[in-house]
Symmetry: none
Subunit: 196 residues, 4 copies
């Protein structure tokens, strides 16, 4: 399988750096090849075409991303803790890899609609993880039980995504991970004053 060969990883990693540094539209295949230390043609031994590099990049990185989140959350007891860990791990991972953050939050969104649909498919795996936590919270009677779950998971994702995108657009000048607590709090308790 091509995916286990070292050049596959080399090219993916080169693509992340090149796209983060040059922007999506200035990331020619030849530039990626050069950064990866291979010939242009070699790219095409491992990827069908340029779009395939990007889809693979996203699948690869997001696969690990989601796996890590799944792993961290399962060790937690309550749905509330799990949700916090999800937000925290989401922020942590992107804060730890600035290049990847730029690529996922800004550059990859400039791709055409078709590619974005493929990306969305990868994200379905993530939405499923969120779903499970919400379900658990409802079973625990921690969360309200008449929630529109399809909508809830969108909103949870939307909140985190917007928070990260803002942080990237502000050139990562503040600490993203510190926001995890507030974001989590908003998710769970909303804006309202606790009713006593």
């Amino acid at each position: 399988m091509n995916k286990d060969k070292p050049k596959y990883k080399q090219i993916i990693d080169a693509a992340v750096v090149v796209i983060a540094e040059n922007g999506y539209h200035s990331s020619q295949v030849s530039k990626i090849a050069k950064k990866a230390g291979v010939a242009d043609g070699t790219i095409y031994l491992y990827f069908k075409n340029k779009e395939d590099i990007l889809v693979s990049l996203f699948q690869d990185k997001m696969g690990q991303f989601i796996e890590r989140i799944e792993h961290e959350t399962t060790s937690k007891q309550s749905a509330e803790e799990k949700l916090f860990t999800l937000v925290e791990t989401h922020f942590q991972q992107l804060a730890a890899d600035h290049h990847l953050a730029i690529v996922t939050q800004l550059e990859l969104r400039q791709s055409n609609k078709e590619l974005r649909y493929k990306i969305n498919n990868v994200l379905k795996g993530y939405l499923a993880v969120i779903d499970n936590i919400v379900d658990e919270g409802i079973r625990e009677k921690l969360f309200r039980d008449h929630l529109n779950r399809r909508l809830v998971r969108q909103l949870i994702f939307g909140m985190m995504d917007e928070a990260v995108t803002n942080w990237v657009m502000k050139e990562q000048r503040y600490n993203l991970e510190e926001q995890a607590r507030d974001v989590h709090s908003l998710m769970v308790y909303g804006l309202a004053q606790p009713r006593s």
Copy 2:
């Protein structure tokens, strides 16, 4: 001022339709000119370049969009009501103009980073409106007072934006406006079971 001349509006409106129907990358200047009923060169009498059409389009449409939301919210009494009206009007307006929804949620995001920064500047006006409502809610002691307001407005926007984007990507097959109540509820009360 060019902006008041009829052709300016003609071109902007043509651009919305052309981009919604053909996608960002298949919306050549010549196609927009044709739809607008003017010569290619005429475009450049009203806009500096292609990007300027898109920025102007966004400013124009978003200006009206925000104005309408401001107008609707000011007539409401409480911050809670205002927030609901904001979500409702946000959803209403995009549901009423499918072309515009496609353009703002999907197509314009494929533009380059530079254009997206300009678009973000336009959105600052919207974020200010949200800010004011949150402030009011805090003053009314309806909302918690230790909220990170910069973050809160991002999350509010992120929730609505994600909800609309999903609706557009699902090809607008369900009723978006009906979700306003749930989204508002999530914003205000979060996921948690009301504590009695």
Copy 3:
């Protein structure tokens, strides 16, 4: 109509010279544009793509070629004379335009099968002209009446074509037109000794 604009002709004529001098596979669009004195992009205002230049070139030149032959032959009385005039005019025209001869006999044949089918369609008009002469000869009882006419026209064309191709491959070092009499004689009387 594009075909009447001066640049259309300019580009066609440039293509003939460039292809004759450089060979089919070394005739880049940019080379043709340069020789025609227009920008690369201008080519695409007049032709759909590179292949379209070649098909149009062939249609244009062959159209004139055949027209000229038709014109010359109609003024002759007998089928025998007409056939001679056909061969003579065929040879004359190609001998008068060395570039065109190289292109039609050698270079255009390197095109892909698809293009060659299109070229063959153009040649059908020529075969029809030959057909008419053969028919007339048969009616005049000059030619045998049990001839397979579809085959006969192929053979007549094949003889001329091979003669011209040989002349081009021998770098046009001998006089092609002088061969018209012998070729005509072979067509009409064959190899055999006249029986007395």
Copy 4:
């Protein structure tokens, strides 16, 4: 000598099939190697380069082709009979090997000029065979003695070649061998009505 090794023949035969089935321009070295059951690199142990495969293919197949024709014709008595046998055997052989017919009549002609000159050299052997028959006919006083023999052999070849090419382009939907008699007749007696 490489030519006697089994892989040499394997590669040549694979090339004929691959080119006939895929066309000249879709017949990559790797495709030929795969069909021949050898590695890409192995091709270069037996052939200098891709062109050398094609030239060798032509030499090989045409060598046998011409040999067979020589063999069949020598057993005939008169030049007229020999010429008929030549046409008949020419048609027979190509009708018997459709792949080869496609390759020689259509696909190999798409090769570049250089390759076609080499192919022409191979054909000189064939032209010599034709020459001999014409000479014999003249000596027998069967054929006219003031014929331009260089031209005559071209025309004889041109007639057969055009007949076969047409048959291939018509997708071999009629019987080629049946045309041998008519073609021969045209060669020997021409179009003219026998003079009594």
